[in-house]
Protein backbone atom coordinates (compact mmCIF):
# COMPACT_ATOMS: atom_id res chain seq x y z
CA UNK A 1 0.00 0.00 0.00
CA UNK A 2 1.12 3.53 -0.75
CA UNK A 3 2.60 5.23 2.29
CA UNK A 4 0.86 8.03 4.13
CA UNK A 5 3.68 10.41 3.12
CA UNK A 6 3.24 9.52 -0.56
CA UNK A 7 -0.52 9.83 -0.35
CA UNK A 8 -0.11 13.28 1.16
CA UNK A 9 2.34 14.47 -1.51
CA UNK A 10 0.13 13.04 -4.28
CA UNK A 11 -2.95 14.71 -2.86
CA UNK A 12 -1.15 18.08 -2.84
CA UNK A 13 0.18 17.48 -6.35
CA UNK A 14 -3.38 16.77 -7.54
CA UNK A 15 -4.35 20.14 -6.06
CA UNK A 16 -1.44 21.67 -7.99
CA UNK A 17 0.36 22.91 -4.91
CA UNK A 18 3.26 22.01 -2.67
CA UNK A 19 2.74 20.41 0.69
CA UNK A 20 3.21 22.58 3.74
CA UNK A 21 5.35 20.84 6.36
CA UNK A 22 5.45 22.44 9.79
CA UNK A 23 8.16 21.78 12.34
CA UNK A 24 7.12 22.12 15.97
CA UNK A 25 9.35 21.60 18.99
CA UNK A 26 7.25 19.17 20.97
CA UNK A 27 6.97 20.22 24.60
CA UNK A 28 7.26 23.94 23.92
CA UNK A 29 5.95 25.73 25.86
CA UNK A 30 4.66 22.62 27.67
CA UNK A 31 3.83 19.12 26.41
CA UNK A 32 0.08 19.74 26.83
CA UNK A 33 0.09 23.12 25.07
CA UNK A 34 2.26 21.86 22.21
CA UNK A 35 -0.14 18.98 21.63
CA UNK A 36 -3.06 21.40 21.34
CA UNK A 37 -0.94 23.63 19.09
CA UNK A 38 -0.15 20.79 16.69
CA UNK A 39 -3.87 19.95 16.30
CA UNK A 40 -4.48 23.61 15.51
CA UNK A 41 -1.58 23.80 13.04
CA UNK A 42 -3.05 20.88 11.12
CA UNK A 43 -6.47 22.50 11.12
CA UNK A 44 -4.86 25.74 9.88
CA UNK A 45 -3.42 24.00 6.82
CA UNK A 46 -0.25 22.09 7.76
CA UNK A 47 -0.15 19.01 5.50
CA UNK A 48 2.59 17.24 7.41
CA UNK A 49 4.11 17.67 10.89
CA UNK A 50 7.74 17.35 11.95
CA UNK A 51 7.77 16.47 15.61
CA UNK A 52 10.91 18.18 16.91
CA UNK A 53 12.56 16.31 19.79
CA UNK A 54 14.29 18.76 22.14
CA UNK A 55 18.00 18.16 22.77
CA UNK A 56 20.40 19.86 25.16
CA UNK A 57 22.99 20.46 22.43
CA UNK A 58 21.23 21.20 19.13
CA UNK A 59 24.28 21.88 16.97
CA UNK A 60 22.38 22.33 13.71
CA UNK A 61 19.88 24.79 15.13
CA UNK A 62 19.86 28.54 15.42
CA UNK A 63 18.79 30.54 18.48
CA UNK A 64 15.00 30.11 18.06
CA UNK A 65 14.93 26.29 18.03
CA UNK A 66 17.62 26.25 20.74
CA UNK A 67 15.42 28.38 22.96
CA UNK A 68 12.33 26.28 22.23
CA UNK A 69 14.27 23.13 23.08
CA UNK A 70 15.36 24.55 26.41
CA UNK A 71 11.80 25.60 27.23
CA UNK A 72 10.56 22.09 26.35
CA UNK A 73 13.26 20.38 28.42
CA UNK A 74 12.52 22.63 31.39
CA UNK A 75 8.89 21.63 31.07
CA UNK A 76 10.00 18.02 31.52
CA UNK A 77 9.53 16.83 27.92
CA UNK A 78 10.93 13.36 27.19
CA UNK A 79 10.86 11.16 24.11
CA UNK A 80 8.30 8.72 25.62
CA UNK A 81 6.01 11.69 26.28
CA UNK A 82 6.51 12.90 22.69
CA UNK A 83 5.60 9.44 21.40
CA UNK A 84 2.40 9.44 23.48
CA UNK A 85 1.49 12.85 22.06
CA UNK A 86 2.21 11.54 18.55
CA UNK A 87 -0.20 8.66 19.12
CA UNK A 88 -3.02 11.02 20.08
CA UNK A 89 -2.34 13.32 17.10
CA UNK A 90 -2.41 10.27 14.85
CA UNK A 91 -5.78 9.23 16.23
CA UNK A 92 -7.28 12.67 15.59
CA UNK A 93 -5.69 13.19 12.15
CA UNK A 94 -5.47 9.80 10.44
CA UNK A 95 -4.10 11.14 7.12
CA UNK A 96 -1.51 13.70 8.31
CA UNK A 97 2.01 12.30 8.01
CA UNK A 98 4.12 12.63 11.17
CA UNK A 99 7.91 12.67 11.01
CA UNK A 100 10.06 12.52 14.12
CA UNK A 101 12.85 15.10 13.82
CA UNK A 102 15.67 14.45 16.26
CA UNK A 103 19.33 14.40 17.16
CA UNK A 104 20.72 10.91 17.37
CA UNK A 105 21.71 10.75 21.03
CA UNK A 106 18.14 10.92 22.30
CA UNK A 107 17.10 8.07 19.97
CA UNK A 108 20.16 5.99 20.84
CA UNK A 109 19.35 6.31 24.54
CA UNK A 110 15.77 5.22 24.00
CA UNK A 111 17.05 2.06 22.30
CA UNK A 112 16.66 1.76 18.53
CA UNK A 113 14.52 -1.36 18.48
CA UNK A 114 12.25 -0.02 21.19
CA UNK A 115 12.07 3.24 19.20
CA UNK A 116 10.91 1.39 16.09
CA UNK A 117 8.19 -0.41 18.00
CA UNK A 118 7.06 2.80 19.70
CA UNK A 119 7.04 4.79 16.45
CA UNK A 120 4.97 2.14 14.75
CA UNK A 121 2.54 1.92 17.65
CA UNK A 122 2.16 5.71 17.69
CA UNK A 123 1.57 5.85 13.95
CA UNK A 124 4.65 7.95 13.17
CA UNK A 125 5.56 7.62 9.50
CA UNK A 126 9.17 8.65 9.28
CA UNK A 127 12.26 9.69 11.14
CA UNK A 128 14.74 12.40 10.28
CA UNK A 129 18.00 12.39 12.24
CA UNK A 130 19.95 15.62 11.83
CA UNK A 131 23.35 14.23 12.82
CA UNK A 132 23.19 10.82 11.15
CA UNK A 133 24.65 11.27 7.67
CA UNK A 134 25.05 8.61 4.99
CA UNK A 135 28.26 7.37 6.65
CA UNK A 136 26.52 6.41 9.92
CA UNK A 137 22.89 5.72 9.04
CA UNK A 138 23.52 2.00 8.68
CA UNK A 139 22.89 1.87 12.43
CA UNK A 140 19.27 2.89 12.13
CA UNK A 141 18.24 1.29 8.81
CA UNK A 142 17.50 -2.16 10.31
CA UNK A 143 15.04 -0.54 12.73
CA UNK A 144 13.38 1.41 9.89
CA UNK A 145 13.06 -1.73 7.75
CA UNK A 146 11.75 -3.87 10.56
CA UNK A 147 9.02 -1.45 11.63
CA UNK A 148 8.24 0.17 8.28
CA UNK A 149 9.47 3.63 9.30
CA UNK A 150 10.66 5.86 6.45
CA UNK A 151 14.14 7.29 6.86
CA UNK A 152 14.04 10.86 5.57
CA UNK A 153 17.45 11.76 4.13
CA UNK A 154 18.99 15.25 4.05
CA UNK A 155 20.98 16.96 1.33
CA UNK A 156 22.56 20.41 1.56
CA UNK A 157 23.92 23.03 -0.86
CA UNK A 158 27.34 21.49 -0.15
CA UNK A 159 26.25 18.01 -1.30
CA UNK A 160 27.44 16.97 -4.77
CA UNK A 161 24.92 15.37 -7.19
CA UNK A 162 26.81 12.05 -6.93
CA UNK A 163 26.58 12.11 -3.17
CA UNK A 164 22.91 13.20 -3.28
CA UNK A 165 22.12 10.17 -5.44
CA UNK A 166 23.78 7.86 -2.92
CA UNK A 167 21.94 9.57 -0.07
CA UNK A 168 18.57 9.00 -1.76
CA UNK A 169 19.29 5.34 -2.43
CA UNK A 170 16.97 3.06 -0.51
CA UNK A 171 14.81 5.95 0.72
CA UNK A 172 11.21 6.32 -0.38
CA UNK A 173 9.35 9.25 1.20
CA UNK A 174 11.04 12.51 0.25
CA UNK A 175 14.43 14.09 0.55
CA UNK A 176 14.88 17.09 2.82
CA UNK A 177 16.84 19.80 1.01
CA UNK A 178 18.58 22.24 3.30
CA UNK A 179 18.26 25.56 1.49
CA UNK A 180 21.19 27.41 3.05
CA UNK A 181 24.68 26.77 4.34
CA UNK A 182 24.04 27.31 7.99
CA UNK A 183 21.83 26.43 10.90
CA UNK A 184 18.03 26.67 11.19
CA UNK A 185 16.58 30.10 11.69
CA UNK A 186 14.48 32.89 10.28
CA UNK A 187 16.04 34.61 7.26
CA UNK A 188 15.00 37.66 5.29
CA UNK A 189 15.94 36.15 1.92
CA UNK A 190 16.98 32.86 0.38
CA UNK A 191 20.03 32.25 -1.82
CA UNK A 192 19.41 33.17 -5.51
CA UNK A 193 20.76 29.79 -6.66
CA UNK A 194 18.15 27.93 -4.59
CA UNK A 195 15.81 27.15 -7.51
CA UNK A 196 18.64 25.52 -9.45
CA UNK A 197 19.76 23.56 -6.41
CA UNK A 198 16.29 22.20 -5.78
CA UNK A 199 15.93 21.12 -9.41
CA UNK A 200 19.37 19.48 -9.25
CA UNK A 201 18.43 17.65 -6.06
CA UNK A 202 15.23 16.36 -7.69
CA UNK A 203 17.24 15.10 -10.65
CA UNK A 204 19.92 13.45 -8.53
CA UNK A 205 17.64 11.93 -5.91
CA UNK A 206 14.64 10.88 -8.02
CA UNK A 207 12.45 11.54 -5.01
CA UNK A 208 10.10 14.38 -4.08
CA UNK A 209 12.00 17.21 -2.38
CA UNK A 210 11.07 19.24 0.66
CA UNK A 211 12.86 22.56 1.06
CA UNK A 212 13.62 23.74 4.56
CA UNK A 213 15.71 26.16 6.68
CA UNK A 214 15.04 29.87 6.60
CA UNK A 215 11.58 29.90 4.98
CA UNK A 216 9.86 32.50 7.09
CA UNK A 217 7.05 34.34 5.29
CA UNK A 218 4.08 33.51 3.04
CA UNK A 219 5.96 35.20 0.15
CA UNK A 220 9.07 33.05 0.64
CA UNK A 221 6.98 29.89 0.97
CA UNK A 222 5.11 30.64 -2.22
CA UNK A 223 8.34 31.39 -4.07
CA UNK A 224 10.03 28.16 -2.95
CA UNK A 225 6.93 26.07 -3.63
CA UNK A 226 7.44 26.69 -7.35
CA UNK A 227 10.53 24.44 -7.14
CA UNK A 228 9.81 22.00 -4.31
CA UNK A 229 7.21 19.33 -3.64
CA UNK A 230 7.04 20.43 -0.03
CA UNK A 231 8.03 23.50 1.94
CA UNK A 232 9.11 23.27 5.57
CA UNK A 233 8.42 26.09 8.02
CA UNK A 234 10.10 25.77 11.41
CA UNK A 235 11.81 28.65 13.17
CA UNK A 236 9.32 31.23 11.90
CA UNK A 237 6.43 29.37 13.54
CA UNK A 238 8.37 28.46 16.69
CA UNK A 239 9.73 32.00 17.08
CA UNK A 240 6.22 33.43 16.71
CA UNK A 241 4.99 30.97 19.31
CA UNK A 242 7.72 31.95 21.76
CA UNK A 243 7.35 35.68 21.26
CA UNK A 244 3.65 36.13 20.55
CA UNK A 245 1.89 32.95 21.62
CA UNK A 246 -0.02 30.10 19.99
CA UNK A 247 -2.74 32.18 18.31
CA UNK A 248 -0.15 34.18 16.37
CA UNK A 249 1.74 30.99 15.42
CA UNK A 250 -1.44 29.34 14.12
CA UNK A 251 -2.39 32.44 12.18
CA UNK A 252 1.09 32.59 10.57
CA UNK A 253 0.71 28.99 9.39
CA UNK A 254 -2.80 29.78 8.17
CA UNK A 255 -1.55 32.64 6.02
CA UNK A 256 1.42 30.63 4.68
CA UNK A 257 -0.94 27.75 3.79
CA UNK A 258 -3.36 30.18 2.15
CA UNK A 259 -0.54 31.73 0.11
CA UNK A 260 0.52 28.34 -1.22
CA UNK A 261 -2.93 27.37 -2.49
Amino acid sequence: MESRINRCLNRCRAEQRSALVVYATVGCPTPEESEILIHRLIDAGADMIELGVPFSDPMADGPVIQRAGQVALKAGTTLPEILRIAGRIRAAHPETPLVLFSYYNVLLNHGLDRLGADLKAAGVDGVLVVDLPLEERGEIIPMCDKYGIELIPLVSPATSPERAAKIAEGCSGFVYCITVRGVTGVRSSLPPELALELEAAKQACRLPVAAGFGISTPEMAREVSAHADAVVVGSAMVGTLLDHGADAAVSLIGSIAGGMR
Partner: protein
Protein backbone atom coordinates in the same frame (compact mmCIF):
# COMPACT_ATOMS: atom_id res chain seq x y z
CA UNK B 1 41.49 6.06 7.10
CA UNK B 2 39.41 4.07 9.55
CA UNK B 3 36.78 6.42 10.94
CA UNK B 4 35.97 4.32 14.00
CA UNK B 5 37.73 2.95 17.07
CA UNK B 6 35.74 -0.21 17.65
CA UNK B 7 32.18 1.07 18.07
CA UNK B 8 33.40 4.60 18.92
CA UNK B 9 34.19 7.65 16.82
CA UNK B 10 32.49 8.10 13.46
CA UNK B 11 30.95 11.13 11.77
CA UNK B 12 27.69 12.01 13.51
CA UNK B 13 27.34 15.45 12.01
CA UNK B 14 24.98 17.46 9.80
CA UNK B 15 25.13 16.66 6.08
CA UNK B 16 26.18 20.26 5.36
CA UNK B 17 29.57 19.52 6.95
CA UNK B 18 30.16 16.08 5.44
CA UNK B 19 31.73 17.29 2.18
CA UNK B 20 34.10 19.46 4.24
CA UNK B 21 35.13 16.49 6.40
CA UNK B 22 35.67 14.30 3.34
CA UNK B 23 37.89 16.98 1.80
CA UNK B 24 39.78 17.42 5.08
CA UNK B 25 40.55 13.72 5.31
CA UNK B 26 41.79 13.67 1.72
CA UNK B 27 44.03 16.71 2.26
CA UNK B 28 45.33 15.42 5.57
CA UNK B 29 46.38 12.09 4.06
CA UNK B 30 48.28 13.97 1.36
CA UNK B 31 49.94 16.26 3.91
CA UNK B 32 50.92 13.31 6.06
CA UNK B 33 52.93 11.86 3.17
CA UNK B 34 54.30 15.19 2.01
CA UNK B 35 57.91 15.63 3.18
CA UNK B 36 57.70 19.41 2.70
CA UNK B 37 54.65 19.64 4.98
CA UNK B 38 56.25 17.46 7.63
CA UNK B 39 59.53 19.38 7.43
CA UNK B 40 57.79 22.71 7.94
CA UNK B 41 55.83 21.27 10.88
CA UNK B 42 58.99 19.88 12.50
CA UNK B 43 60.86 23.13 11.99
CA UNK B 44 58.10 25.16 13.64
CA UNK B 45 57.96 22.71 16.55
CA UNK B 46 61.71 23.13 17.03
CA UNK B 47 62.22 26.84 16.49
CA UNK B 48 58.84 28.32 17.38
CA UNK B 49 57.49 25.99 20.06
CA UNK B 50 60.91 25.17 21.49
CA UNK B 51 60.81 21.38 21.18
CA UNK B 52 61.90 18.94 22.17
CA UNK B 53 60.54 19.51 25.63
CA UNK B 54 62.64 18.14 28.51
CA UNK B 55 61.85 14.94 30.36
CA UNK B 56 62.69 16.14 33.84
CA UNK B 57 63.53 13.91 36.78
CA UNK B 58 61.61 15.33 39.74
CA UNK B 59 64.13 14.23 42.36
CA UNK B 60 62.79 15.96 45.46
CA UNK B 61 59.22 14.90 44.69
CA UNK B 62 60.31 11.30 44.04
CA UNK B 63 62.43 11.09 47.18
CA UNK B 64 59.68 12.57 49.33
CA UNK B 65 57.41 9.71 48.25
CA UNK B 66 60.01 6.96 48.51
CA UNK B 67 59.09 4.98 45.44
CA UNK B 68 59.51 5.23 41.68
CA UNK B 69 61.58 7.91 40.01
CA UNK B 70 59.00 10.40 38.71
CA UNK B 71 59.75 12.04 35.37
CA UNK B 72 57.80 15.02 34.13
CA UNK B 73 57.28 15.59 30.43
CA UNK B 74 57.59 19.35 30.36
CA UNK B 75 54.88 20.40 27.89
CA UNK B 76 54.44 23.42 30.16
CA UNK B 77 57.68 24.79 28.71
CA UNK B 78 56.26 24.97 25.18
CA UNK B 79 55.61 28.39 23.68
CA UNK B 80 52.18 29.51 25.02
CA UNK B 81 52.58 27.22 28.01
CA UNK B 82 50.81 23.99 27.11
CA UNK B 83 50.72 21.04 24.73
CA UNK B 84 47.90 22.62 22.72
CA UNK B 85 50.30 24.40 20.35
CA UNK B 86 51.60 21.08 18.94
CA UNK B 87 48.18 20.59 17.42
CA UNK B 88 47.26 24.16 16.48
CA UNK B 89 50.44 24.56 14.41
CA UNK B 90 49.68 21.35 12.54
CA UNK B 91 46.06 22.29 11.86
CA UNK B 92 46.97 25.83 10.81
CA UNK B 93 49.42 24.39 8.28
CA UNK B 94 46.59 22.17 7.01
CA UNK B 95 44.24 25.17 6.83
CA UNK B 96 46.76 27.14 4.79
CA UNK B 97 47.28 24.16 2.49
CA UNK B 98 43.51 23.98 1.92
CA UNK B 99 43.35 27.67 1.09
CA UNK B 100 41.35 28.67 4.17
CA UNK B 101 41.85 32.20 5.46
CA UNK B 102 40.00 32.09 8.76
CA UNK B 103 40.45 29.89 11.84
CA UNK B 104 37.80 29.21 14.44
CA UNK B 105 38.23 27.32 17.70
CA UNK B 106 36.42 26.41 20.88
CA UNK B 107 38.15 26.80 24.20
CA UNK B 108 37.51 25.99 27.84
CA UNK B 109 40.46 27.00 29.99
CA UNK B 110 41.62 29.20 27.14
CA UNK B 111 44.84 27.36 26.36
CA UNK B 112 43.61 25.99 23.04
CA UNK B 113 42.15 29.39 22.22
CA UNK B 114 45.53 30.99 22.91
CA UNK B 115 47.23 28.26 20.87
CA UNK B 116 44.90 28.95 17.93
CA UNK B 117 45.13 32.75 18.23
CA UNK B 118 48.92 32.38 18.27
CA UNK B 119 49.15 30.43 15.03
CA UNK B 120 46.54 32.68 13.40
CA UNK B 121 48.86 35.61 14.14
CA UNK B 122 51.85 33.62 12.90
CA UNK B 123 50.18 32.75 9.60
CA UNK B 124 48.30 36.03 9.16
CA UNK B 125 44.84 34.47 9.41
CA UNK B 126 41.61 35.80 10.83
CA UNK B 127 40.64 34.10 14.11
CA UNK B 128 37.43 33.74 16.12
CA UNK B 129 37.50 31.83 19.39
CA UNK B 130 34.25 30.61 20.97
CA UNK B 131 34.35 30.46 24.75
CA UNK B 132 31.57 29.82 27.26
CA UNK B 133 30.60 32.93 29.22
CA UNK B 134 31.36 31.12 32.48
CA UNK B 135 34.88 30.36 31.26
CA UNK B 136 35.39 33.90 29.96
CA UNK B 137 34.82 35.03 33.53
CA UNK B 138 37.03 32.45 35.25
CA UNK B 139 39.92 32.53 32.72
CA UNK B 140 40.23 36.28 32.20
CA UNK B 141 44.02 36.35 31.63
CA UNK B 142 43.71 33.99 28.66
CA UNK B 143 40.90 36.12 27.17
CA UNK B 144 43.28 39.08 27.25
CA UNK B 145 46.06 37.01 25.68
CA UNK B 146 43.80 35.98 22.78
CA UNK B 147 42.73 39.57 22.19
CA UNK B 148 46.33 40.74 22.29
CA UNK B 149 47.14 38.19 19.62
CA UNK B 150 44.45 39.69 17.39
CA UNK B 151 41.70 37.11 17.84
CA UNK B 152 38.06 37.88 18.55
CA UNK B 153 36.71 36.09 21.62
CA UNK B 154 33.03 35.28 21.29
CA UNK B 155 31.36 34.74 24.63
CA UNK B 156 28.80 31.92 24.37
CA UNK B 157 25.73 32.31 26.58
CA UNK B 158 23.71 29.31 25.37
CA UNK B 159 23.22 26.10 27.37
CA UNK B 160 25.56 25.82 30.34
CA UNK B 161 27.89 28.49 28.87
CA UNK B 162 30.98 26.28 29.17
CA UNK B 163 33.20 24.25 26.83
CA UNK B 164 30.49 22.04 25.30
CA UNK B 165 28.40 25.07 24.42
CA UNK B 166 31.45 26.81 22.97
CA UNK B 167 31.90 23.75 20.76
CA UNK B 168 28.22 23.80 19.72
CA UNK B 169 28.57 27.44 18.71
CA UNK B 170 31.84 26.84 16.85
CA UNK B 171 30.16 24.03 14.88
CA UNK B 172 27.15 26.27 14.10
CA UNK B 173 29.47 28.97 12.84
CA UNK B 174 31.46 26.45 10.81
CA UNK B 175 28.34 25.06 9.07
CA UNK B 176 27.79 28.52 7.60
CA UNK B 177 31.43 29.43 6.87
CA UNK B 178 33.23 26.20 5.92
CA UNK B 179 34.07 27.52 2.46
CA UNK B 180 36.74 29.90 3.81
CA UNK B 181 37.01 28.75 7.44
CA UNK B 182 38.99 25.95 9.07
CA UNK B 183 37.75 24.65 12.41
CA UNK B 184 40.74 23.98 14.65
CA UNK B 185 39.42 21.41 17.15
CA UNK B 186 41.46 21.38 20.34
CA UNK B 187 41.04 17.83 21.49
CA UNK B 188 40.81 14.27 20.18
CA UNK B 189 37.02 14.52 19.89
CA UNK B 190 34.71 15.76 17.14
CA UNK B 191 33.88 13.92 13.93
CA UNK B 192 36.43 11.83 12.05
CA UNK B 193 39.10 12.69 10.91
CA UNK B 194 39.68 15.14 13.80
CA UNK B 195 40.43 12.59 16.55
CA UNK B 196 43.09 11.01 14.32
CA UNK B 197 44.56 14.34 13.16
CA UNK B 198 44.85 15.71 16.68
CA UNK B 199 46.35 12.44 17.95
CA UNK B 200 48.95 12.48 15.19
CA UNK B 201 49.97 16.07 15.92
CA UNK B 202 50.16 15.35 19.66
CA UNK B 203 52.02 12.05 19.25
CA UNK B 204 55.27 14.02 19.39
CA UNK B 205 54.79 14.04 23.20
CA UNK B 206 54.93 10.26 23.43
CA UNK B 207 57.57 9.75 20.76
CA UNK B 208 59.97 12.12 22.53
CA UNK B 209 59.18 10.75 25.99
CA UNK B 210 59.81 7.16 24.98
CA UNK B 211 63.18 8.00 23.44
CA UNK B 212 64.15 10.26 26.35
CA UNK B 213 63.39 7.70 29.04
CA UNK B 214 65.32 5.01 27.15
CA UNK B 215 68.30 7.37 26.93
CA UNK B 216 68.12 8.26 30.61
CA UNK B 217 67.20 4.92 32.13
CA UNK B 218 67.97 2.31 29.51
CA UNK B 219 64.52 0.82 29.97
CA UNK B 220 60.86 1.69 29.57
CA UNK B 221 58.88 3.25 32.41
CA UNK B 222 56.66 1.12 34.63
CA UNK B 223 53.75 3.51 34.24
CA UNK B 224 52.78 6.55 32.16
CA UNK B 225 50.09 8.94 33.38
CA UNK B 226 48.22 11.83 31.78
CA UNK B 227 45.10 13.82 32.55
CA UNK B 228 42.02 13.30 30.37
CA UNK B 229 39.38 15.92 29.59
CA UNK B 230 38.87 15.40 25.88
CA UNK B 231 42.20 13.65 26.16
CA UNK B 232 44.60 15.08 23.58
CA UNK B 233 47.74 15.23 25.74
CA UNK B 234 46.97 11.72 27.00
CA UNK B 235 46.51 10.20 23.53
CA UNK B 236 49.65 11.99 22.36
CA UNK B 237 51.59 10.54 25.26
CA UNK B 238 50.06 7.04 25.19
CA UNK B 239 50.32 6.57 21.42
CA UNK B 240 54.04 5.75 21.63
CA UNK B 241 53.57 3.16 24.39
CA UNK B 242 50.45 1.28 23.21
CA UNK B 243 52.57 -1.57 21.85
CA UNK B 244 54.70 -1.86 25.00
CA UNK B 245 52.54 -4.18 27.10
CA UNK B 246 54.91 -3.89 30.07
CA UNK B 247 54.12 -0.16 30.36
CA UNK B 248 51.02 0.52 32.41
CA UNK B 249 49.00 3.42 30.96
CA UNK B 250 46.74 5.49 33.20
CA UNK B 251 44.35 8.22 32.14
CA UNK B 252 43.23 10.52 34.93
CA UNK B 253 39.79 12.07 34.69
CA UNK B 254 38.48 14.93 36.80
CA UNK B 255 36.51 13.56 39.74
CA UNK B 256 35.36 17.06 40.75
CA UNK B 257 33.72 16.78 44.15
CA UNK B 258 33.57 13.00 43.76
CA UNK B 259 31.86 10.81 41.16
CA UNK B 260 29.27 9.78 43.76
CA UNK B 261 28.17 13.43 44.14
CA UNK B 262 27.33 13.75 40.45
CA UNK B 263 29.53 16.87 40.29
CA UNK B 264 32.41 15.65 38.16
CA UNK B 265 33.79 15.46 34.63
CA UNK B 266 34.67 11.75 34.50
CA UNK B 267 32.96 10.63 31.30
CA UNK B 268 34.51 7.17 31.32
CA UNK B 269 34.29 6.69 35.08
CA UNK B 270 30.74 7.96 35.43
CA UNK B 271 29.19 8.19 31.97
CA UNK B 272 27.43 6.09 29.33
CA UNK B 273 27.89 5.65 25.59
CA UNK B 274 26.24 8.30 23.44
CA UNK B 275 26.77 10.70 20.56
CA UNK B 276 27.88 14.32 20.89
CA UNK B 277 29.85 16.75 18.73
CA UNK B 278 30.21 14.32 15.88
CA UNK B 279 31.41 11.18 17.63
CA UNK B 280 30.17 8.20 19.60
CA UNK B 281 31.88 7.98 22.96
CA UNK B 282 31.33 7.92 26.73
CA UNK B 283 29.27 10.93 27.80
CA UNK B 284 27.77 12.45 30.90
CA UNK B 285 24.03 12.37 30.22
CA UNK B 286 20.61 11.88 31.74
CA UNK B 287 18.70 8.61 31.22
CA UNK B 288 16.82 10.49 28.44
CA UNK B 289 20.00 11.25 26.53
CA UNK B 290 20.28 14.93 27.40
CA UNK B 291 23.88 15.99 27.98
CA UNK B 292 24.60 17.16 31.50
CA UNK B 293 27.02 19.81 32.60
CA UNK B 294 30.44 18.56 33.65
CA UNK B 295 32.09 19.96 36.73
CA UNK B 296 35.75 20.30 37.69
CA UNK B 297 37.84 22.91 39.49
CA UNK B 298 39.90 22.82 36.30
CA UNK B 299 38.22 24.48 33.31
CA UNK B 300 40.27 22.47 30.83
CA UNK B 301 38.80 19.16 32.00
CA UNK B 302 35.27 20.50 32.25
CA UNK B 303 33.84 18.60 29.27
CA UNK B 304 31.01 16.02 29.39
CA UNK B 305 32.61 13.77 26.76
CA UNK B 306 35.95 12.19 25.99
CA UNK B 307 37.86 11.38 22.81
CA UNK B 308 36.46 8.21 21.17
CA UNK B 309 39.84 6.48 21.12
CA UNK B 310 39.92 6.74 24.92
CA UNK B 311 36.53 5.04 25.09
CA UNK B 312 37.95 2.26 22.96
CA UNK B 313 41.14 1.97 25.03
CA UNK B 314 39.04 1.87 28.20
CA UNK B 315 36.88 -0.99 26.93
CA UNK B 316 39.90 -2.90 25.64
CA UNK B 317 41.59 -2.53 29.01
CA UNK B 318 44.86 -1.25 27.51
CA UNK B 319 44.51 2.03 29.40
CA UNK B 320 43.16 2.22 32.92
CA UNK B 321 41.09 5.32 33.71
CA UNK B 322 40.84 6.65 37.23
CA UNK B 323 39.42 9.84 38.72
CA UNK B 324 41.13 12.41 40.91
CA UNK B 325 38.98 14.84 42.88
CA UNK B 326 39.41 18.61 43.12
CA UNK B 327 41.04 18.54 46.56
CA UNK B 328 43.60 15.93 45.53
CA UNK B 329 44.50 17.88 42.40
CA UNK B 330 44.93 21.11 44.34
CA UNK B 331 47.13 19.34 46.90
CA UNK B 332 49.33 17.99 44.08
CA UNK B 333 49.48 21.50 42.59
CA UNK B 334 50.89 22.78 45.89
CA UNK B 335 53.26 19.84 46.34
CA UNK B 336 54.93 20.24 42.96
CA UNK B 337 55.16 24.02 43.33
CA UNK B 338 56.88 23.72 46.73
CA UNK B 339 59.13 20.72 46.06
CA UNK B 340 60.24 21.38 42.52
CA UNK B 341 59.61 25.05 41.83
CA UNK B 342 57.24 24.14 39.03
CA UNK B 343 53.68 25.47 39.07
CA UNK B 344 51.61 22.95 37.09
CA UNK B 345 48.29 23.55 35.35
CA UNK B 346 45.33 22.35 37.40
CA UNK B 347 44.56 19.92 34.57
CA UNK B 348 48.03 18.35 34.76
CA UNK B 349 47.79 18.35 38.56
CA UNK B 350 45.20 15.58 38.25
CA UNK B 351 47.74 13.28 36.59
CA UNK B 352 50.32 14.33 39.12
CA UNK B 353 48.03 13.53 42.05
CA UNK B 354 47.54 10.00 40.73
CA UNK B 355 51.32 9.62 40.30
CA UNK B 356 51.82 10.75 43.89
CA UNK B 357 49.31 8.10 44.97
CA UNK B 358 50.97 5.21 43.14
CA UNK B 359 54.69 6.14 43.24
CA UNK B 360 55.33 4.22 46.45
CA UNK B 361 54.07 1.00 44.85
CA UNK B 362 57.22 0.97 42.74
CA UNK B 363 60.89 0.52 43.61
CA UNK B 364 63.39 3.38 43.16
CA UNK B 365 64.93 1.67 40.13
CA UNK B 366 61.61 1.91 38.31
CA UNK B 367 60.38 5.08 36.68
CA UNK B 368 57.02 6.63 35.95
CA UNK B 369 56.28 9.45 33.50
CA UNK B 370 53.69 12.14 34.11
CA UNK B 371 52.62 14.39 31.26
CA UNK B 372 52.88 17.90 32.65
CA UNK B 373 50.61 19.19 29.92
CA UNK B 374 50.64 22.86 30.89
CA UNK B 375 51.74 25.56 33.28
CA UNK B 376 49.62 26.81 36.13
CA UNK B 377 49.96 30.58 35.88
CA UNK B 378 46.45 30.82 34.42
CA UNK B 379 45.06 29.06 37.52
CA UNK B 380 46.33 31.34 40.29
CA UNK B 381 43.00 33.15 40.76
CA UNK B 382 41.02 29.93 40.69
CA UNK B 383 43.25 28.24 43.23
CA UNK B 384 42.95 31.22 45.56
CA UNK B 385 39.16 31.21 45.19
CA UNK B 386 38.99 27.45 45.69
CA UNK B 387 41.05 27.59 48.87
CA UNK B 388 39.00 30.47 50.21
CA UNK B 389 35.77 28.54 49.65
CA UNK B 390 37.26 25.59 51.54
CA UNK B 391 38.13 27.72 54.56
CA UNK B 392 34.49 28.64 55.08
Amino acid sequence: MNSHYGIYGGQYIAETLMPTLIELEKEYLKAKDDPAFQAEYRELLADYVGRESPLYYAKRLSESLGGARIYLKREDLNHTGAHKINNTIGQALLARRMGKTRLIAETGAGMHGVGTATVAALFGMECDVFMGAVDVARQAPNVERMKTLGARVISVESGSATLKDAMNEAIRNWVATAENTFYVIGTVAGPHPYPAIVRDFQSVIGTESRRQILEKRGKLPAEVLACVGGGSNAIGMFSAFLNDPEVKLTGVEAGGEGIETGKHAASIGGGRVGVLHGCKTYLLQTPDGQIVEAYSVSAGLDYPGVGPEHSYLADSGRVKYVAINDDEAVAAFDTLSRLEGIIPALESSHALAQAIKVAKNYSPDESIIVCLSGRGDKDMDNIAKYKKSREK
